[in-house]
Amino acid sequence: MLKGVTSAWLHGLAATFIGLLFLAVSFGSPVADRAAELTAVILEYPERPALWTRRLASESVAWIGGVRKLRERVRSLELENARLRATLLERPERAISPASDLVQAWIDTRPPALWWNEVRIDRGSSDGIREGMPALREGFLAGRVSRVFPGHSWVDLLTSTRLLVPVVVEETRDLGVLTGDGRGGIRLLYIPEEKELRPGMRISTALVSDILPAGLPVGKVSDLVPAIEDGFRVYPVLPGVDFSVMDSFLILTGGRKP
């Protein structure tokens, strides 16, 4: 028995040590990223029954939600549509190209270690997804596509420290940059110290590139007290998306009207 126990310790400690060594050398390494991608690709087909079941459950819950909820939603969308039409008449440069389309993408991986940074979706370049495309959830910007593969892509979330999104405060037209804190929070940067924003002011994307259209709603200015860093106010932002409860996105493909 003693021999068995000694052998167990040797094997166990060796395996633990090798595991920790892997952890030390692989964190953030591109080789580890490639290995993870390869594992995900290999497991894509065996995991399909689970993904189908998830979709079925999600759609069933949405269906059971009832007609009343849908009617309310339709009414609210009609109102929003009317408001947006009016806005477009005033600001035609905000119109999104008719060639644009929304591709529904399901989240199939959300690594816990990168919980607030990125998620993997089940759509890729073969579905028309390109890097930089905005990912929407319930009409609000949730993130941007960062890496694209033929059958899947990765989306950087707004809560990620890696993502910087130029935005505008709707009520004051102040421009700023939105970034995450990597812990579930979002901050609005570069608002001059002398400018004071009120809680509840709406924030949307600013006109900066063809692939990320202007005017996509992002969230509201929070009622928390802003910090002051290097002569600028840093406002906490209340996102329109609940980043704790997400199972799919709409990816806005195509670009802004030329």
């Binding site: 167990a8 040590f17 952890l23 991986t109």
Partner: protein
């Protein structure tokens, strides 16, 4: 071997089903620890599968390659040593269940601590993972109890 691959796949399927909401219990590790009771001296047939299963789990789900592999290996060796130290007449299903629960709690705690501690929704995920492991633990404990009863009958 096939049963190990099947258990890993079942754990993976459950995680794919519940991703974003919950963490599934470590069914693969629980099954491996149960296998250990067949011949507690055959450490390598438990520890290295635990390592490989953990590493695959890391590559698929945690983005921290080596973390689960190390945790599984360490828990496996601790269980083997602990089980070997218990005199044969003292080994029973209740004790084995406690050992499995402790193993699951250790792996869960290590995981949650690496994400910054157990607070808010992580507490719920931790409690869910432990509770969800209980049915599997009961099944494994009953299996071990049946096996020990057979062995006693033979002797």
């Amino acid at each position: 071997m096939i049963s190990l691959v099947a258990l890993w796949y079942i754990q993976d399927l459950f995680q794919a089903l519940l991703t974003e909401r919950f963490l599934v219990p470590d069914l693969f590790l629980i099954f491996l620890i149960c296998r250990m009771t067949k011949d507690p001296r055959e450490a390598s047939s438990v520890i290295w599968p635990a390592f490989v299963g953990g590493l695959l789990w890391d590559l698929r789900w945690t983005a921290l390659p080596g973390f689960t592999a190390a945790a599984y290996s360490l828990v496996a060796v601790l269980c083997i040593v602990a089980w070997n130290r218990i005199p044969y007449p003292g080994r029973n299903a209740g004790l084995f269940s406690l050992m499995l629960l402790a193993a699951q709690a250790f792996v869960s705690l290590a995981r949650f601590v690496s994400w910054g501690g157990i607070q808010g929704s992580l507490t719920e995920a931790f409690v869910f993972q432990l509770c969800a492991a209980v049915p599997m633990i009961i099944v494994m404990a009953l299996t071990v109890a049946a096996r020990m009863s057979d062995e006693n009958a033979k002797h």
